[in-house]
Amino acid sequence: MTDMPDLRVAGVQAPRKDAREKVTGAARYTVDVDLPGMLHAKLLRSPVAHARLTRIDARAARDLPGVHAVLTRDDLGGLQPTYGYFIKDQPIVAMDKLRYVGDPIAAVAAQDEVTAVRALELITFEYEELDPVPDVASALRVGAVELFEDAPMGIVPAYGRGASAELRPRPNVCYRFAYETGEDDAFDHCDHVFEDDFVFGRQQHFHLEPFVTVAREENGQIEIWTSSQNPFPLRKELSRVFQHPENRIRVHVPYVGAGYGAKNNCKTEPIAILLARLSGRPVRFCMTNEENFLTQTQHAAKIRIKTGVMADGTFVARAGEILLDSGAYADASPLVAEKAGYRLHSLYKWRHVKTVCDCVMTNTSPAGPFRGFGGTQASWASESQIDMIARRLNIDPYDLRLKNLLALGDPYVPGESGMDSDIGEGLRLVADRIGYHGRIRTPGRGMGLSIGFKDSGGVNKPASARIKISTTGAIYLQCGSIEIGQGITTALSAITAEILNAPAERVHYPDVDTDHTPFDQGTNASSGIVVMGQAVARAANEVKARVLEFAAGQLDCDVSELTLDDWNIRRGNESHPLNLMIMRTYGGTGFEFTGEGYHKAEMDHEAPLETRCVAWEYGWGAAEVEVDEQTGLIKVLQLVVSGDAGRAINPAVCRGQDEGSAVMGLGGALFETMLYDGVTLANGNALTYRVPLATDLPENFVSILQEQGHGPGPFGSKGVGEGCMLPVASAIANAVEDAIGVRVTEMPLTPERVLAAIDARNST
């Protein structure tokens, strides 16, 4: 652990800036936006999973009193009507085909929701059903019907050393990412080669605020209020879709009621805008909770890993294949594939790595970004197999990990940035806290360990910030980080206040508005602190320098003699109020000082993903379970997780993130998954989709916030928020094997699956 600088505002467990508003109900979200004359939108969705849309007739709907606009494929003229990240394949409404149960067919804007639904009932359509492709195996079967007969517009970005990608490498695969490094023949020199298969479930984000947008278009200006994590890339995509200048599209983002990755890129926005354009009135399009399930999900996955080791447990080579279930549209699948494929070999020393990740199209809800972003799938398989190998070699899984872990500063792979936490130290912490070493063996009880990781800061991700200080010392922090519940406004305000030596209460964080807020690529990838935080720190230092230069001019002294102290200038024992100094120079109208900050990792073709990872986010996990061998039910007795915030800007906020992500991981490990009966989602509502309750928490649930001090963010900080989700499932699966000697390789670890594994053990 490095020496920590003394801090006054940052690093302190201060109340959140948004606490009072949210507790009292005063906080304003997009769902609360109400414009004069606003209409309400509803969607007609596909009842079938795969079909050719042959006819649609909306005339009766258009004639219904109270209806102001009806949107079908006939209204897409003049647009680039499909969107996506790397691959632009998702239409605003169905054009030629219906690709999943729930695919939007038509939309109506009416005076109220009831009228909108009545109008949808009047729309008739016909279709020719096609063979459905319900899952990855069906999609890859020889001769399977293709979801896209023709290639949608798509790009493959530049990759660096060892990484590559390909569009449509085989039928029903929209993207393939591959990574390779080291000696091709490494497997030939191994004492043992193990190959194992794993299945990963499919969580839904279950954000409480649904997808929602309020849109209006007046005098050629499109203006939206939307529940979005990335307003600037969204604005760019809307500009392309609507063929409309970016500076005539204005995106406002009030508080966002959670997203967990789902609220990136186009969701409700294109339909709301188009209906506003067609009706000439503001339109509110707010989905239901059930529609969230039909809009965005996590990627289910099938994962095969081959690992070569020496007899003493030294790791040599790892190869893997991941098949992500992308659902009906590519969405962010290529980006998730990059990360899943790149992380599969995990943070151990290898002489050879070779991974491939395919994005497989199926007739199910589109899959996209989800907390952990490919790291959850990779960690599940990788850390499960590490334990399996340890047991096969009769080595304690703890020792096997320590023997092979990358050390602090070791590059993840050639050309990549180094490890910025002592990974072994984190493992020791959770193992000690749960009592792993020297534990007394009790029948049916076991302990498991796991280390998850992902990058923090995204790839090639720029962020910019502006800080203004008024005559009276009021501070405006303008940046595009979205307050999505994670506490980023509190943290960035604390960084600003710390540098400006001001109380945090004096920092105002205006709502994000793309017309006025400096550019940010998005609130995702645990980037708020390590990318935006650096931009904010630079802006704060710049404005501070300007203030001190101004004061030095006024006091006719050198800047080095001065310090900024709560909007006073200190020079030795003298204190000079800045407001008086400013008005002496600028008059009674006052002045604003402004500082700008920017951060982006440099491009580097030696780095596999073209920029080195800004920071690494780790999640250490340890679980103790008790397994009921008659029912297969797992009871998690203890769950210990730990993340490394580098230097916690607000320890309570960091722990909240660690614990929230761990509970999300617990749900995915034990029961939380979307269940399809063929192509029909069987549990797509809050009544039947099981999420963790407070009563599901283990009696001993502990989070340990590490502050190892190696982060690139302000004061040594790093990103948190995703890491502690990553190790939970594999730690539990490892504990199950420790308890009863059976390995479950499919998530979630339902009692029926566990019991089947017990039966299989008993029958051999």
Partner: protein, 285 residues
Amino acid sequence: MDHDLMEAGWVSRGHGSIATFELIRPTRVVDALAAHRVAEDSSAAYMAGGIDQINRMQDGAAPDRVIDLSRVQGLTGISEKFGALNIGAGVTHHRIETDPMIASLAPDLAAAWATFGNIRVRMAGTIGGNIMARHPNYDGPVLLAACGARYVFEKPDGMTSLIDADSWPDVPPGADAASGALLTRIVIPTGGDRRLVFDRSLKPVISVAVAVDGNGGGRAAMGCAFAEPVCVAFDVGANAGEIAAEIAGALPVPIRDVFAGSDYRRRMARVLLERQITLLAEMGP
């Protein structure tokens, strides 16, 4: 999801609009019964806490008249009469969980009831709504069947009918709605040293409640595994494993769905039954 709506493109529960309806708010049972009498081509529905009735309406049910029972006198009482608890159909789950009389006379029932849903459901939902929902996963009918409870209905013709909780599944769903009968109270025997245990650890796969009395009689009820709860009477005397095996072997074929298979459900019925019968034996009279 209503099949016709699904065919028309309504794929999401809650996506369809709730049809317009007439809201009646009676204050007496007799007025509620009268309000339920509608023309032959119309329909009416009672609503207590509103959780399930609104769900049904979001799923496509479209009663012309909804009769709000929240103001009806006499539906929220809790009393003891002739060795039995009388719980009004409008009593909320939270009251069952916290009422001193229930805690005194049937603490095991109160404890089991406290595990239902979440606090929002327990504050709004009622025992009557839980029964009338006829939802295969609801716990109320399972517990009440094990306890040997009876449901008291007031009928539009002024008659009162009593239905044993364990034969409630034999009443065709919808028959009560068609007749306009109103569930007014639930009668739960409290005498005879009855002891009750409940295991919902495997929900939504199966839940099991078992009650035994001081006379050697036992009743086992199972939920989630069938379209309606299944209740079986047994004699306590035999070995727990044998009783469980016999009951599980004679069960109808459990459902198979995305949550679990039929075989697993039957096997779990046996495991949980054996455990609970053993537990009750260990608890003693």
